[in-house]
């Protein structure tokens, strides 16, 4: 046998024995408290109502809306296409294979953002990715999308654009009726806004 064989044999046997002798080390499939805390500071954990409206309207196939309120609230009103997964059941829901969740952008919402945030923290502890909280929840949704405040005349162009978008979205979501305030807009044309809040792309 040549020398290289002995070198290899010593090397492999040494490391192999090491592997057997190493004490078991706990491998947690959960994010540690520290990781969780640093996740909290990631601004992409929130998604604006405008962005959600845009994704619903453009029928973004990646969007997965999750209503974490209880079933009664859900039956009363929820966002179009939303799934009802009450906070209590959030960990029972089989995220992994029901919807190819890796490709999804999951948006959690409740009436405000507290319940959604609680669901978010739980899911994040389980290392789920691409989960976002709809900032302000349904209350904010009604304030901004369903019943948007018209901006002041002197408002910046941005703001007026945004209002136009929301106006259109409102008509879209409420079924095309003439808006409550006497806005002259007969055109129910969607004003496409530029993607400013790009969701973080994950995976491959």
């Amino acid at each position: 046998m040549n020398k290289a064989f002995y070198i290899l044999a010593v090397f492999l046997l040494l490391l192999g024995t090491g592997l057997v002798l190493l004490p078991d080390r706990e491998h947690s499939d959960e994010a540690s408290p520290g990781e969780l805390l640093s996740n909290l500071r990631n601004p992409s954990r929130f998604i604006s109502t405008d962005k959600v409206a845009e994704m619903i309207i453009s029928q973004d196939p990646a969007l997965l809306l999750v209503d974490v309120r209880d079933m009664y609230d859900f039956l009363d009103y929820s966002l179009p296409g939303a799934h009802s997964i009450p906070l209590e059941e959030i960990m029972m829901y089989n995220w992994v294979d029901s919807l190819s969740y890796k490709q999804s952008q999951i948006v959690l919402f409740s009436n405000s953002d507290i319940l959604a945030d609680q669901a978010w923290v739980l899911l994040k502890r389980k290392k789920y990715e691409n989960i976002h909280i709809m900032k302000g929840g349904l209350n904010h949704w009604f304030e901004t999308i369903i019943q948007p405040e018209p901006p002041a005349e002197t408002a910046a162009d941005d703001e007026i654009d945004r209002y136009q978008f929301r106006k259109g979205a409102s008509i879209y979501f409420t079924g095309g009726a003439v808006p409550l305030e006497q806005e002259t807009s007969t055109e129910a044309v969607m004003v496409k806004r530029k993607n400013k809040t790009q969701l973080v792309e994950g995976g491959c």
Binding site: M1, F5, L8, L12, G16, L19, V20, L22
Partner: protein, 197 residues
């Protein structure tokens, strides 16, 4: 320091092709320098006159395996993110035997034929041409074998789980098997009539 780097997003997507090129170069260099560009050297393993393939192959697989286990243990790499290919039992067996027959007739496997091409082996070029044709034939005939291809899906099984061993015990057993195989093949090699090439 936690890998795998690209799936974890530590290295940007733009870099992965550059890395692919570099890794490929290292791969090709090692293969060629070990003699994998010669079909007669490769075939030697089946006729007992040259067991280089077995040595390189086993040593590489075991070294990488042991390294991965250590990296996983130390938390440098998240082993659950390492791709474990799924076992489609019948397809794997039939495919493997077909490849075995291809190996003994063609004298190369895909990676080594690339090394052969790089240093000007015409047989390697023909082999690769054959592979292109073979893949084309398979794709055209895919409906015929679809049942086998997608059937008997056992999932992404790990061998130590199937055998009910811990990773460490399995690793040391495999190491011992490999070392014994190296000794035996050396003896066989010395007994078998030398083939000049």
């Amino acid at each position: 320091m936690t890998g795998p780097l690209i799936p974890m997003g530590i290295i940007g997507q733009g870099w992965d092709l550059v890395i692919a090129l570099l890794i490929g170069m290292a791969f090709g260099y090692v293969l060629e320098s070990a003699g994998f560009s010669s079909s007669r050297k490769l075939a030697g393993v089946f006729y007992g006159y040259d067991f280089t393939v077995l040595r390189v192959f086993f040593t590489a697989a075991i070294t990488a395996m042991v390294g991965l286990l250590y990296f996983g243990y130390m938390g440098w790499i998240d082993l659950s993110m390492i791709y474990v290919n799924k076992t489609f039992l019948i397809a794997a067996i039939v495919g493997g035997i077909t490849m075995g027959l291809g190996f003994i007739t063609g004298g190369y496997c895909p990676g080594t034929s690339m090394c052969g091409i790089a240093i000007g082996k015409i047989d390697a070029m023909v082999f690769t041409g054959g592979m292109l044709l073979g893949i084309f034939i398979f794709s055209e005939g895919f409906p015929l074998v679809k049942g086998i291809y997608q059937g008997y899906d056992l999932g992404a099984l790990k061998i130590n789980e199937v055998l009910g061993l811990s990773t460490g015990v399995f690793a040391i057993l495999l190491i011992i098997v490999a070392l014994v195989a190296f000794v035996i093949t050396r003896i066989v090699e010395n007994k078998v009539k030398k083939v000049e090439y």
